[in-house]
Amino acid sequence: MAKGTVKFNIEMCKGCELCIEACPQESLALSPKLNKQGYHYAVLVKDNCTGCVNCALVCPDAVITVYREKKKAKVPVATITNVKEDITVTVA
Amino acid sequence: MSEIRLMKGNEALAEAAIRAGCQAYFGYPITPQSEILEYLADQGRKRGMIVLQAESEVASINMVYGAAGAGARVMTSSSSPGISLMQEGLSYIACAELPCLVVNVNRGGPGLGTIQPSQGDYFQATKGGGHGDYRLIVLAPASVQEMADFVFDAFDLADRYRNPVMILADGALGQMMEKVEFRDYDPKEHIPPKPWATTGKTKDRERNILTSLHIQPEKMEQINLHLQEKYRRITEQEVRYEVVETDDAEFVIVAYGLVARIAHRAVEIAREQGIRAGLLRPQTLYPFPYQKVRELAERVHGILTVEMNSGQMVEDVRLGVEGRCPVEFYGRMGGIIPSPEEIVKALEKLVGKDVRQAVEA
Protein backbone atom coordinates (compact mmCIF):
# COMPACT_ATOMS: atom_id res chain seq x y z
CA MET A 1 0.00 0.00 0.00
CA ALA A 2 1.49 3.30 -1.16
CA LYS A 3 1.71 6.03 1.43
CA GLY A 4 0.16 9.33 0.52
CA THR A 5 -1.44 12.43 1.88
CA VAL A 6 -3.80 15.20 0.82
CA LYS A 7 -3.89 18.96 1.30
CA PHE A 8 -7.16 20.86 1.45
CA ASN A 9 -7.63 24.47 0.38
CA ILE A 10 -10.19 24.71 3.17
CA GLU A 11 -11.56 28.15 2.26
CA MET A 12 -12.73 26.72 -1.09
CA CYS A 13 -14.45 23.76 0.51
CA LYS A 14 -18.24 23.68 0.66
CA GLY A 15 -18.56 20.61 2.85
CA CYS A 16 -20.40 18.55 0.26
CA GLU A 17 -18.84 15.35 1.61
CA LEU A 18 -18.32 13.82 -1.82
CA CYS A 19 -14.64 13.33 -1.11
CA ILE A 20 -15.42 11.63 2.15
CA GLU A 21 -17.77 9.29 0.30
CA ALA A 22 -15.13 8.63 -2.35
CA CYS A 23 -12.28 7.83 0.00
CA PRO A 24 -11.78 4.02 0.12
CA GLN A 25 -9.64 4.40 3.26
CA GLU A 26 -12.28 6.42 5.11
CA SER A 27 -9.52 8.88 5.92
CA LEU A 28 -11.60 12.03 5.55
CA ALA A 29 -14.23 13.80 7.62
CA LEU A 30 -15.81 17.20 7.98
CA SER A 31 -14.28 19.46 10.56
CA PRO A 32 -16.59 20.66 13.33
CA LYS A 33 -15.14 24.07 12.54
CA LEU A 34 -16.52 26.42 9.89
CA ASN A 35 -14.52 28.19 7.21
CA LYS A 36 -15.12 31.83 6.38
CA GLN A 37 -17.88 30.80 4.03
CA GLY A 38 -19.58 29.16 6.98
CA TYR A 39 -19.09 25.63 5.72
CA HIS A 40 -17.78 22.71 7.74
CA TYR A 41 -14.76 21.82 5.66
CA ALA A 42 -13.23 18.45 4.87
CA VAL A 43 -10.03 17.33 6.58
CA LEU A 44 -7.80 14.27 6.77
CA VAL A 45 -8.59 12.49 10.01
CA LYS A 46 -6.53 9.30 9.66
CA ASP A 47 -2.98 8.74 8.49
CA ASN A 48 -3.78 5.80 6.22
CA CYS A 49 -4.14 7.87 3.00
CA THR A 50 -2.74 6.01 0.00
CA GLY A 51 -2.85 9.02 -2.36
CA CYS A 52 -5.32 7.28 -4.63
CA VAL A 53 -6.64 10.66 -5.83
CA ASN A 54 -10.28 9.55 -5.64
CA CYS A 55 -11.22 12.47 -3.38
CA ALA A 56 -9.62 15.02 -5.65
CA LEU A 57 -11.36 13.59 -8.71
CA VAL A 58 -14.87 13.98 -7.31
CA CYS A 59 -14.32 17.34 -5.62
CA PRO A 60 -16.46 19.95 -7.43
CA ASP A 61 -14.42 22.80 -6.05
CA ALA A 62 -10.84 21.76 -6.81
CA VAL A 63 -10.05 21.89 -3.12
CA ILE A 64 -7.72 18.92 -2.90
CA THR A 65 -4.08 18.41 -3.78
CA VAL A 66 -2.78 14.87 -3.51
CA TYR A 67 0.77 13.63 -2.75
CA ARG A 68 2.29 10.17 -2.80
CA GLU A 69 5.58 8.55 -1.92
CA LYS A 70 8.00 8.73 -4.83
CA LYS A 71 8.16 5.40 -6.64
CA LYS A 72 9.66 4.40 -9.97
CA ALA A 73 8.47 7.01 -12.47
CA LYS A 74 4.70 7.01 -12.52
CA VAL A 75 2.27 9.19 -14.40
CA PRO A 76 -0.31 11.10 -12.41
CA VAL A 77 -3.34 8.91 -11.84
CA ALA A 78 -5.53 11.75 -12.88
CA THR A 79 -4.41 11.59 -16.49
CA ILE A 80 -6.27 9.16 -18.69
CA THR A 81 -3.24 7.29 -19.93
CA ASN A 82 -3.56 4.61 -17.29
CA VAL A 83 -7.10 3.73 -18.25
CA LYS A 84 -7.07 0.71 -20.55
CA GLU A 85 -8.54 1.23 -24.02
CA ASP A 86 -11.07 -1.54 -23.69
CA ILE A 87 -12.57 -0.84 -20.30
CA THR A 88 -16.24 0.07 -20.54
CA VAL A 89 -17.92 1.97 -17.78
CA THR A 90 -19.36 -0.24 -15.08
CA VAL A 91 -21.93 1.30 -12.83
CA ALA A 92 -21.25 0.18 -9.28
CA MET B 1 -65.38 35.91 0.65
CA SER B 2 -62.70 38.44 -0.19
CA GLU B 3 -60.18 38.03 2.63
CA ILE B 4 -56.93 39.94 2.57
CA ARG B 5 -53.86 37.84 1.75
CA LEU B 6 -50.12 38.41 1.77
CA MET B 7 -48.75 37.33 -1.59
CA LYS B 8 -45.91 37.77 -4.04
CA GLY B 9 -46.81 39.89 -7.04
CA ASN B 10 -46.23 36.97 -9.37
CA GLU B 11 -48.47 34.72 -7.30
CA ALA B 12 -51.19 37.32 -6.98
CA LEU B 13 -51.15 37.75 -10.75
CA ALA B 14 -51.39 33.99 -11.27
CA GLU B 15 -54.20 33.63 -8.72
CA ALA B 16 -56.07 36.45 -10.45
CA ALA B 17 -55.68 34.70 -13.80
CA ILE B 18 -57.36 31.60 -12.38
CA ARG B 19 -60.19 33.68 -10.94
CA ALA B 20 -60.52 35.55 -14.26
CA GLY B 21 -61.35 32.29 -15.97
CA CYS B 22 -58.10 31.95 -17.85
CA GLN B 23 -58.39 28.51 -19.47
CA ALA B 24 -54.81 27.96 -20.50
CA TYR B 25 -51.29 29.14 -19.77
CA PHE B 26 -48.31 28.41 -22.01
CA GLY B 27 -44.92 29.56 -20.80
CA TYR B 28 -41.23 28.98 -20.22
CA PRO B 29 -39.38 29.66 -16.95
CA ILE B 30 -37.36 32.81 -16.50
CA THR B 31 -36.40 34.85 -13.47
CA PRO B 32 -37.94 36.98 -12.03
CA GLN B 33 -41.36 35.60 -13.00
CA SER B 34 -41.13 31.80 -12.85
CA GLU B 35 -43.50 31.84 -9.87
CA ILE B 36 -46.35 32.55 -12.27
CA LEU B 37 -45.79 29.28 -14.10
CA GLU B 38 -45.06 27.46 -10.83
CA TYR B 39 -48.17 28.74 -9.07
CA LEU B 40 -50.36 27.82 -12.03
CA ALA B 41 -48.72 24.42 -12.44
CA ASP B 42 -49.95 23.72 -8.91
CA GLN B 43 -53.07 25.80 -8.20
CA GLY B 44 -54.09 26.30 -11.82
CA ARG B 45 -54.01 22.63 -12.71
CA LYS B 46 -55.82 21.71 -9.50
CA ARG B 47 -58.55 24.14 -10.52
CA GLY B 48 -58.90 22.86 -14.08
CA MET B 49 -56.57 25.13 -15.99
CA ILE B 50 -54.42 23.84 -18.85
CA VAL B 51 -50.83 24.68 -17.91
CA LEU B 52 -48.13 23.72 -20.36
CA GLN B 53 -44.43 24.38 -19.94
CA ALA B 54 -43.36 24.98 -23.53
CA GLU B 55 -39.94 24.27 -25.03
CA SER B 56 -39.33 28.00 -25.50
CA GLU B 57 -40.94 31.43 -25.53
CA VAL B 58 -41.29 31.17 -29.28
CA ALA B 59 -43.35 28.02 -28.86
CA SER B 60 -45.28 29.59 -25.96
CA ILE B 61 -46.52 32.59 -27.88
CA ASN B 62 -47.51 30.44 -30.84
CA MET B 63 -49.38 28.03 -28.59
CA VAL B 64 -51.17 31.10 -27.25
CA TYR B 65 -52.01 31.99 -30.86
CA GLY B 66 -53.55 28.58 -31.44
CA ALA B 67 -55.44 28.43 -28.16
CA ALA B 68 -56.75 32.00 -28.43
CA GLY B 69 -57.81 31.21 -31.97
CA ALA B 70 -59.68 28.20 -30.65
CA GLY B 71 -61.70 30.64 -28.54
CA ALA B 72 -60.08 30.24 -25.14
CA ARG B 73 -59.03 32.89 -22.63
CA VAL B 74 -55.27 32.35 -22.57
CA MET B 75 -52.05 33.90 -21.39
CA THR B 76 -48.30 33.60 -21.30
CA SER B 77 -45.67 35.36 -19.24
CA SER B 78 -41.95 35.92 -19.39
CA SER B 79 -39.27 38.48 -18.74
CA SER B 80 -37.31 40.71 -21.10
CA PRO B 81 -35.19 38.30 -23.15
CA GLY B 82 -38.09 35.89 -23.45
CA ILE B 83 -40.42 38.68 -24.50
CA SER B 84 -37.98 39.64 -27.25
CA LEU B 85 -38.31 36.12 -28.63
CA MET B 86 -42.08 36.57 -28.77
CA GLN B 87 -42.01 39.63 -31.02
CA GLU B 88 -42.78 37.81 -34.26
CA GLY B 89 -45.60 35.90 -32.60
CA LEU B 90 -47.04 39.06 -31.04
CA SER B 91 -47.10 40.74 -34.44
CA TYR B 92 -49.02 37.75 -35.84
CA ILE B 93 -51.45 37.74 -32.91
CA ALA B 94 -52.07 41.46 -33.20
CA CYS B 95 -52.77 41.17 -36.92
CA ALA B 96 -55.01 38.10 -36.57
CA GLU B 97 -56.72 39.99 -33.71
CA LEU B 98 -56.52 37.24 -31.14
CA PRO B 99 -57.34 38.26 -27.56
CA CYS B 100 -54.74 37.16 -25.00
CA LEU B 101 -52.67 38.32 -22.06
CA VAL B 102 -48.89 38.58 -22.19
CA VAL B 103 -47.06 39.43 -18.98
CA ASN B 104 -43.58 40.95 -19.02
CA VAL B 105 -41.90 41.09 -15.62
CA ASN B 106 -39.19 43.42 -16.85
CA ARG B 107 -35.57 42.79 -15.82
CA GLY B 108 -32.44 44.79 -16.56
CA GLY B 109 -31.10 44.59 -20.10
CA PRO B 110 -29.85 44.73 -22.71
CA GLY B 111 -28.71 41.18 -23.41
CA LEU B 112 -28.78 38.73 -20.57
CA GLY B 113 -28.22 41.74 -18.35
CA THR B 114 -29.35 41.32 -14.79
CA ILE B 115 -32.43 39.81 -13.19
CA GLN B 116 -33.08 42.87 -11.08
CA PRO B 117 -36.06 45.16 -11.76
CA SER B 118 -36.04 47.49 -14.76
CA GLN B 119 -38.32 49.46 -17.08
CA GLY B 120 -36.05 49.07 -20.08
CA ASP B 121 -38.72 47.43 -22.22
CA TYR B 122 -41.08 50.43 -22.41
CA PHE B 123 -40.38 51.12 -26.09
CA GLN B 124 -40.69 47.45 -26.98
CA ALA B 125 -44.04 47.21 -25.22
CA THR B 126 -45.59 50.47 -26.40
CA LYS B 127 -44.18 51.09 -29.89
CA GLY B 128 -44.26 47.49 -31.00
CA GLY B 129 -41.04 45.52 -30.76
CA GLY B 130 -42.29 43.31 -33.55
CA HIS B 131 -42.56 44.22 -37.22
CA GLY B 132 -45.32 46.28 -38.76
CA ASP B 133 -47.90 48.70 -37.46
CA TYR B 134 -49.59 47.12 -34.46
CA ARG B 135 -50.18 47.99 -30.83
CA LEU B 136 -50.56 46.10 -27.60
CA ILE B 137 -52.70 47.56 -24.85
CA VAL B 138 -50.13 47.96 -22.06
CA LEU B 139 -51.06 48.09 -18.37
CA ALA B 140 -48.48 49.08 -15.75
CA PRO B 141 -49.28 47.92 -12.18
CA ALA B 142 -47.57 49.63 -9.24
CA SER B 143 -48.44 47.25 -6.41
CA VAL B 144 -49.19 43.61 -5.72
CA GLN B 145 -52.84 44.63 -5.53
CA GLU B 146 -52.68 45.97 -9.09
CA MET B 147 -50.74 42.90 -10.22
CA ALA B 148 -53.97 41.11 -9.42
CA ASP B 149 -56.53 43.75 -10.42
CA PHE B 150 -55.07 44.47 -13.85
CA VAL B 151 -55.33 40.80 -14.82
CA PHE B 152 -59.13 40.98 -14.78
CA ASP B 153 -59.06 44.25 -16.69
CA ALA B 154 -56.50 42.91 -19.16
CA PHE B 155 -58.59 39.89 -20.13
CA ASP B 156 -61.72 42.01 -20.48
CA LEU B 157 -59.92 44.57 -22.66
CA ALA B 158 -58.40 41.79 -24.77
CA ASP B 159 -61.85 40.33 -25.46
CA ARG B 160 -63.51 43.72 -25.97
CA TYR B 161 -61.03 44.77 -28.64
CA ARG B 162 -59.81 41.38 -29.88
CA ASN B 163 -56.33 42.63 -29.11
CA PRO B 164 -53.35 41.26 -27.19
CA VAL B 165 -52.86 43.00 -23.84
CA MET B 166 -49.57 43.25 -22.01
CA ILE B 167 -49.06 43.70 -18.30
CA LEU B 168 -45.67 45.38 -17.94
CA ALA B 169 -44.37 44.92 -14.41
CA ASP B 170 -40.84 44.66 -13.04
CA GLY B 171 -38.82 42.18 -11.03
CA ALA B 172 -39.55 43.86 -7.70
CA LEU B 173 -43.31 43.89 -8.23
CA GLY B 174 -43.13 40.23 -9.17
CA GLN B 175 -41.03 39.14 -6.19
CA MET B 176 -42.31 41.32 -3.35
CA MET B 177 -45.07 40.35 -0.97
CA GLU B 178 -47.83 42.78 -0.08
CA LYS B 179 -51.44 42.65 0.96
CA VAL B 180 -53.84 41.74 -1.78
CA GLU B 181 -57.59 41.35 -2.00
CA PHE B 182 -59.26 39.67 -4.97
CA ARG B 183 -62.34 41.24 -6.53
CA ASP B 184 -65.52 39.24 -6.99
CA TYR B 185 -65.52 38.30 -10.65
CA ASP B 186 -67.61 35.82 -12.57
CA PRO B 187 -65.93 34.97 -15.89
CA LYS B 188 -69.26 33.86 -17.35
CA GLU B 189 -70.48 37.44 -17.08
CA HIS B 190 -67.40 38.81 -18.78
CA ILE B 191 -66.28 36.45 -21.54
CA PRO B 192 -68.13 37.30 -24.79
CA PRO B 193 -69.11 34.75 -27.44
CA LYS B 194 -66.37 34.23 -30.04
CA PRO B 195 -68.09 33.35 -33.32
CA TRP B 196 -64.83 33.91 -35.18
CA ALA B 197 -62.99 31.14 -33.34
CA THR B 198 -61.83 28.00 -35.14
CA THR B 199 -63.84 25.39 -33.28
CA GLY B 200 -64.94 23.35 -36.28
CA LYS B 201 -66.97 24.59 -39.25
CA THR B 202 -70.61 23.84 -38.55
CA LYS B 203 -73.15 23.71 -41.38
CA ASP B 204 -74.74 26.97 -40.29
CA ARG B 205 -71.70 29.09 -41.00
CA GLU B 206 -68.85 29.69 -43.42
CA ARG B 207 -65.47 28.35 -42.34
CA ASN B 208 -63.46 30.52 -39.96
CA ILE B 209 -59.97 31.44 -41.08
CA LEU B 210 -57.46 33.11 -38.78
CA THR B 211 -54.58 34.57 -40.73
CA SER B 212 -52.34 37.60 -40.92
CA LEU B 213 -51.46 37.07 -44.59
CA HIS B 214 -52.98 39.34 -47.21
CA ILE B 215 -50.76 39.22 -50.23
CA GLN B 216 -52.67 41.90 -52.12
CA PRO B 217 -51.46 45.30 -50.91
CA GLU B 218 -54.95 46.78 -51.25
CA LYS B 219 -56.33 44.11 -48.90
CA MET B 220 -53.42 44.41 -46.50
CA GLU B 221 -53.94 48.17 -46.36
CA GLN B 222 -57.60 47.58 -45.49
CA ILE B 223 -56.52 45.31 -42.63
CA ASN B 224 -54.13 47.99 -41.43
CA LEU B 225 -56.75 50.72 -41.64
CA HIS B 226 -59.10 48.50 -39.66
CA LEU B 227 -56.43 48.02 -36.98
CA GLN B 228 -55.62 51.73 -36.88
CA GLU B 229 -59.31 52.52 -36.46
CA LYS B 230 -59.42 50.09 -33.55
CA TYR B 231 -56.35 51.67 -31.97
CA ARG B 232 -58.00 55.09 -32.33
CA ARG B 233 -61.02 53.80 -30.39
CA ILE B 234 -58.72 52.36 -27.74
CA THR B 235 -56.83 55.64 -27.31
CA GLU B 236 -60.16 57.43 -26.99
CA GLN B 237 -61.73 55.10 -24.48
CA GLU B 238 -59.11 53.28 -22.45
CA VAL B 239 -56.58 55.82 -21.18
CA ARG B 240 -56.04 55.34 -17.44
CA TYR B 241 -53.87 57.24 -15.00
CA GLU B 242 -53.65 58.35 -11.39
CA VAL B 243 -52.80 61.88 -10.26
CA VAL B 244 -51.46 62.92 -6.85
CA GLU B 245 -51.57 66.54 -5.66
CA THR B 246 -51.51 68.00 -9.16
CA ASP B 247 -54.19 70.65 -8.59
CA ASP B 248 -51.83 73.26 -7.20
CA ALA B 249 -48.65 71.68 -8.48
CA GLU B 250 -45.93 73.81 -10.09
CA PHE B 251 -43.80 70.78 -10.87
CA VAL B 252 -45.06 67.36 -11.84
CA ILE B 253 -43.29 64.05 -11.80
CA VAL B 254 -44.41 61.49 -14.40
CA ALA B 255 -43.60 57.91 -13.47
CA TYR B 256 -45.20 54.48 -13.75
CA GLY B 257 -45.03 51.17 -11.93
CA LEU B 258 -42.83 50.77 -8.89
CA VAL B 259 -41.04 54.03 -9.63
CA ALA B 260 -44.32 55.92 -9.24
CA ARG B 261 -44.53 54.72 -5.60
CA ILE B 262 -41.09 56.09 -4.94
CA ALA B 263 -41.92 59.29 -6.81
CA HIS B 264 -45.00 59.58 -4.61
CA ARG B 265 -42.75 59.57 -1.55
CA ALA B 266 -40.52 62.11 -3.30
CA VAL B 267 -43.53 64.37 -3.80
CA GLU B 268 -44.25 64.22 -0.06
CA ILE B 269 -40.65 65.10 0.80
CA ALA B 270 -40.58 67.88 -1.80
CA ARG B 271 -43.75 69.42 -0.41
CA GLU B 272 -42.27 69.28 3.09
CA GLN B 273 -39.43 71.32 1.58
CA GLY B 274 -41.94 73.77 0.12
CA ILE B 275 -41.78 72.60 -3.49
CA ARG B 276 -45.30 72.38 -4.91
CA ALA B 277 -44.86 68.98 -6.51
CA GLY B 278 -47.37 66.56 -7.96
CA LEU B 279 -47.41 63.16 -9.59
CA LEU B 280 -48.94 61.73 -12.77
CA ARG B 281 -48.90 57.94 -12.89
CA PRO B 282 -49.96 56.44 -16.23
CA GLN B 283 -51.67 53.09 -15.60
CA THR B 284 -52.00 52.49 -19.32
CA LEU B 285 -48.73 53.02 -21.19
CA TYR B 286 -50.57 52.35 -24.42
CA PRO B 287 -52.84 54.21 -24.76
CA PHE B 288 -50.67 56.93 -23.19
CA PRO B 289 -52.34 59.89 -21.41
CA TYR B 290 -51.04 62.53 -23.86
CA GLN B 291 -54.11 64.67 -23.24
CA LYS B 292 -53.52 64.80 -19.49
CA VAL B 293 -49.84 65.57 -19.97
CA ARG B 294 -50.72 68.39 -22.37
CA GLU B 295 -53.21 69.80 -19.89
CA LEU B 296 -50.63 69.74 -17.07
CA ALA B 297 -47.95 71.21 -19.33
CA GLU B 298 -50.24 74.18 -19.90
CA ARG B 299 -50.06 75.20 -16.26
CA VAL B 300 -47.00 73.74 -14.51
CA HIS B 301 -43.46 75.15 -14.59
CA GLY B 302 -41.78 71.89 -15.41
CA ILE B 303 -42.15 68.14 -15.70
CA LEU B 304 -39.71 65.52 -14.43
CA THR B 305 -39.97 62.02 -15.86
CA VAL B 306 -38.43 59.27 -13.78
CA GLU B 307 -37.84 55.77 -15.14
CA MET B 308 -35.68 52.73 -14.50
CA ASN B 309 -34.12 53.07 -17.97
CA SER B 310 -32.21 55.59 -20.09
CA GLY B 311 -35.30 57.62 -20.93
CA GLN B 312 -38.08 56.00 -22.91
CA MET B 313 -41.49 57.11 -21.64
CA VAL B 314 -40.05 60.62 -21.51
CA GLU B 315 -40.43 60.70 -25.32
CA ASP B 316 -44.17 60.20 -24.95
CA VAL B 317 -44.22 62.87 -22.27
CA ARG B 318 -42.45 65.26 -24.66
CA LEU B 319 -44.92 64.36 -27.41
CA GLY B 320 -47.68 65.39 -25.03
CA VAL B 321 -45.91 68.54 -23.83
CA GLU B 322 -44.83 69.74 -27.28
CA GLY B 323 -42.61 72.46 -25.83
CA ARG B 324 -45.23 73.91 -23.49
CA CYS B 325 -42.90 73.54 -20.49
CA PRO B 326 -39.44 72.19 -19.75
CA VAL B 327 -39.19 68.40 -19.49
CA GLU B 328 -36.35 66.77 -17.58
CA PHE B 329 -35.49 63.12 -17.15
CA TYR B 330 -33.99 61.19 -14.28
CA GLY B 331 -33.27 57.49 -14.56
CA ARG B 332 -31.36 54.58 -13.09
CA MET B 333 -30.44 51.47 -15.04
CA GLY B 334 -29.20 47.92 -14.74
CA GLY B 335 -31.66 46.93 -12.04
CA ILE B 336 -31.07 49.79 -9.65
CA ILE B 337 -34.13 51.36 -8.06
CA PRO B 338 -33.92 55.11 -7.50
CA SER B 339 -34.47 56.37 -3.94
CA PRO B 340 -36.99 59.10 -3.06
CA GLU B 341 -34.07 61.31 -2.09
CA GLU B 342 -32.43 61.04 -5.53
CA ILE B 343 -35.70 61.96 -7.17
CA VAL B 344 -36.14 64.98 -4.93
CA LYS B 345 -32.63 66.12 -5.89
CA ALA B 346 -33.50 65.80 -9.57
CA LEU B 347 -36.66 67.76 -8.89
CA GLU B 348 -34.70 70.49 -7.12
CA LYS B 349 -32.46 70.81 -10.19
CA LEU B 350 -35.54 71.32 -12.34
CA VAL B 351 -36.89 73.90 -9.91
CA GLY B 352 -33.51 75.60 -9.83
CA LYS B 353 -33.47 75.88 -13.60
CA ASP B 354 -36.91 77.35 -13.45
CA VAL B 355 -35.82 79.98 -10.96
CA ARG B 356 -32.81 80.86 -13.11
CA GLN B 357 -35.10 81.27 -16.08
CA ALA B 358 -37.29 83.54 -14.00
CA VAL B 359 -34.23 85.65 -13.11
CA GLU B 360 -33.02 85.79 -16.68
CA ALA B 361 -36.42 86.96 -17.81
Binding site: L34, Q37 | I4, A172, R265
Partner: protein
Protein backbone atom coordinates in the same frame (compact mmCIF):
# COMPACT_ATOMS: atom_id res chain seq x y z
CA UNK C 1 -43.57 54.33 12.68
CA UNK C 2 -41.65 52.53 9.94
CA UNK C 3 -39.14 49.75 10.57
CA UNK C 4 -36.82 48.55 7.81
CA UNK C 5 -35.28 45.15 8.47
CA UNK C 6 -32.95 42.81 6.63
CA UNK C 7 -32.64 39.12 7.52
CA UNK C 8 -29.78 37.15 5.95
CA UNK C 9 -28.26 33.69 6.24
CA UNK C 10 -28.07 30.28 4.60
CA UNK C 11 -31.04 29.12 2.56
CA UNK C 12 -31.76 26.35 5.01
CA UNK C 13 -31.96 28.59 8.07
CA UNK C 14 -35.53 29.72 7.47
CA UNK C 15 -34.53 33.28 6.68
CA UNK C 16 -37.34 33.91 4.22
CA UNK C 17 -40.08 32.28 6.31
CA UNK C 18 -38.96 34.24 9.36
CA UNK C 19 -39.58 37.44 7.41
CA UNK C 20 -42.87 36.11 6.14
CA UNK C 21 -44.16 35.28 9.61
CA UNK C 22 -43.22 38.77 10.74
CA UNK C 23 -45.08 40.15 7.74
CA UNK C 24 -48.25 38.22 8.52
CA UNK C 25 -48.08 39.34 12.13
CA UNK C 26 -47.84 42.95 10.98
CA UNK C 27 -50.77 42.39 8.63
CA UNK C 28 -52.82 41.03 11.52
CA UNK C 29 -52.06 44.26 13.32
CA UNK C 30 -53.43 46.14 10.28
CA UNK C 31 -49.99 47.55 9.49
CA UNK C 32 -48.60 48.13 6.00
CA UNK C 33 -46.01 45.55 5.11
CA UNK C 34 -43.70 44.65 2.26
CA UNK C 35 -41.46 41.59 2.03
CA UNK C 36 -38.78 41.37 -0.63
CA UNK C 37 -36.59 38.29 -1.03
CA UNK C 38 -33.20 38.15 -2.68
CA UNK C 39 -33.50 36.16 -5.89
CA UNK C 40 -31.35 34.85 -8.64
CA UNK C 41 -28.04 33.03 -8.96
CA UNK C 42 -26.38 34.65 -5.96
CA UNK C 43 -28.60 32.15 -4.11
CA UNK C 44 -26.64 29.34 -5.78
CA UNK C 45 -24.03 29.89 -3.08
CA UNK C 46 -26.78 28.98 -0.63
CA UNK C 47 -27.16 32.37 1.01
CA UNK C 48 -30.51 34.12 1.05
CA UNK C 49 -31.94 37.28 2.49
CA UNK C 50 -35.14 39.24 2.66
CA UNK C 51 -36.05 42.83 3.33
CA UNK C 52 -39.08 43.38 5.53
CA UNK C 53 -40.63 46.82 5.88
CA UNK C 54 -43.34 47.33 8.48
CA UNK C 55 -45.05 50.71 8.65
CA UNK C 56 -48.29 52.46 9.35
CA UNK C 57 -47.81 54.58 6.22
CA UNK C 58 -47.92 53.49 2.58
CA UNK C 59 -44.63 51.83 1.65
CA UNK C 60 -42.88 53.21 -1.41
CA UNK C 61 -39.96 50.97 -2.39
CA UNK C 62 -39.61 47.39 -1.16
CA UNK C 63 -35.91 47.49 -2.02
CA UNK C 64 -33.67 49.72 0.09
CA UNK C 65 -29.98 49.86 0.83
CA UNK C 66 -29.72 50.77 4.53
CA UNK C 67 -31.67 49.28 7.42
CA UNK C 68 -32.86 49.97 10.94
CA UNK C 69 -32.04 46.38 11.77
CA UNK C 70 -29.90 43.66 10.22
CA UNK C 71 -30.18 40.07 11.41
CA UNK C 72 -27.25 37.94 10.20
CA UNK C 73 -27.31 34.18 10.66
CA UNK C 74 -24.01 33.28 9.00
CA UNK C 75 -20.58 34.80 8.48
CA UNK C 76 -20.88 35.84 4.82
CA UNK C 77 -24.14 37.65 5.63
CA UNK C 78 -22.61 39.51 8.53
CA UNK C 79 -19.58 40.48 6.46
CA UNK C 80 -21.79 41.66 3.63
CA UNK C 81 -24.44 43.60 5.55
CA UNK C 82 -22.75 45.00 8.70
CA UNK C 83 -22.06 48.22 6.80
CA UNK C 84 -25.70 48.58 5.78
CA UNK C 85 -27.10 49.19 9.27
CA UNK C 86 -28.12 52.80 9.88
CA UNK C 87 -26.00 54.45 12.62
CA UNK C 88 -27.59 53.64 15.96
CA UNK C 89 -29.40 50.75 14.35
CA UNK C 90 -29.65 47.17 15.58
CA UNK C 91 -27.32 44.39 14.40
CA UNK C 92 -28.32 40.96 15.71
CA UNK C 93 -26.46 37.75 14.80
CA UNK C 94 -26.20 34.04 15.56
CA UNK C 95 -23.12 33.78 17.71
CA UNK C 96 -22.98 30.02 17.26
CA UNK C 97 -22.43 30.26 13.50
CA UNK C 98 -20.45 33.45 13.38
CA UNK C 99 -16.82 33.37 14.47
CA UNK C 100 -15.57 36.86 13.62
CA UNK C 101 -17.94 39.33 15.33
CA UNK C 102 -18.94 42.73 13.92
CA UNK C 103 -16.53 45.63 14.40
CA UNK C 104 -18.76 48.71 14.16
CA UNK C 105 -19.12 50.72 17.37
CA UNK C 106 -22.02 52.96 16.38
CA UNK C 107 -24.58 50.17 16.59
CA UNK C 108 -26.58 48.23 19.09
CA UNK C 109 -24.97 44.81 18.63
CA UNK C 110 -26.75 41.74 19.96
CA UNK C 111 -25.20 38.28 19.55
CA UNK C 112 -27.51 35.33 20.22
CA UNK C 113 -26.38 31.68 20.52
CA UNK C 114 -29.48 30.78 18.49
CA UNK C 115 -28.23 27.60 16.79
CA UNK C 116 -26.78 26.29 20.04
CA UNK C 117 -30.06 27.03 21.77
CA UNK C 118 -32.01 25.37 18.96
CA UNK C 119 -29.97 22.16 19.21
CA UNK C 120 -30.52 22.28 22.96
CA UNK C 121 -34.22 22.39 22.14
CA UNK C 122 -33.58 19.42 19.78
CA UNK C 123 -34.91 21.11 16.63
CA UNK C 124 -32.77 23.26 14.35
CA UNK C 125 -35.90 24.31 12.43
CA UNK C 126 -37.01 26.64 15.21
CA UNK C 127 -33.74 28.54 15.27
CA UNK C 128 -35.31 31.32 13.22
CA UNK C 129 -38.16 31.69 15.73
CA UNK C 130 -35.68 32.04 18.57
CA UNK C 131 -34.05 34.86 16.65
CA UNK C 132 -37.40 36.46 15.86
CA UNK C 133 -38.36 36.37 19.49
CA UNK C 134 -35.07 37.97 20.41
CA UNK C 135 -35.50 40.67 17.79
CA UNK C 136 -39.04 41.53 18.92
CA UNK C 137 -37.79 41.80 22.50
CA UNK C 138 -35.52 44.62 21.33
CA UNK C 139 -37.85 46.17 18.74
CA UNK C 140 -41.47 45.41 19.48
CA UNK C 141 -42.76 46.26 16.01
CA UNK C 142 -45.39 43.55 16.45
CA UNK C 143 -46.67 41.63 19.47
CA UNK C 144 -45.54 38.04 20.08
CA UNK C 145 -49.24 37.14 20.17
CA UNK C 146 -49.64 38.35 16.60
CA UNK C 147 -46.65 36.23 15.57
CA UNK C 148 -48.19 33.16 17.16
CA UNK C 149 -51.44 33.86 15.33
CA UNK C 150 -49.47 34.45 12.12
CA UNK C 151 -47.78 31.07 12.52
CA UNK C 152 -51.22 29.45 12.40
CA UNK C 153 -51.75 31.07 9.01
CA UNK C 154 -48.32 30.32 7.59
CA UNK C 155 -47.81 26.75 8.82
CA UNK C 156 -49.73 24.13 6.83
CA UNK C 157 -52.35 22.33 8.98
CA UNK C 158 -50.22 19.21 9.23
CA UNK C 159 -47.55 21.15 11.11
CA UNK C 160 -49.87 22.79 13.61
CA UNK C 161 -48.75 20.38 16.33
CA UNK C 162 -45.46 22.29 16.17
CA UNK C 163 -47.12 25.58 17.14
CA UNK C 164 -46.40 25.23 20.87
CA UNK C 165 -42.76 24.46 20.17
CA UNK C 166 -42.48 27.53 17.95
CA UNK C 167 -44.08 29.70 20.61
CA UNK C 168 -41.60 28.32 23.16
CA UNK C 169 -38.81 29.24 20.76
CA UNK C 170 -40.10 32.81 20.46
CA UNK C 171 -40.25 33.15 24.27
CA UNK C 172 -36.81 31.57 24.64
CA UNK C 173 -35.46 34.13 22.21
CA UNK C 174 -36.94 36.93 24.30
CA UNK C 175 -35.33 35.56 27.43
CA UNK C 176 -31.93 35.23 25.74
CA UNK C 177 -31.77 38.95 24.94
CA UNK C 178 -33.38 39.89 28.21
CA UNK C 179 -30.46 38.14 29.94
CA UNK C 180 -27.86 39.62 27.61
CA UNK C 181 -27.95 43.26 28.66
Amino acid sequence: MTHELLIAGFGGQGVLSMGMVLGYAAMIEKKEISWMPSYGPEMRGGTANCIVIVSDKRISSPIITTFDTVIALNQPSLDKFESRVKPGGLLMYDSTNIITPPTRTDLEIVPIPASEEASNMKNMKIMNMIVLGAFLERREIVKIESVVEALKKVLPERYHHLLPLNEQALRRGQELVAMHV
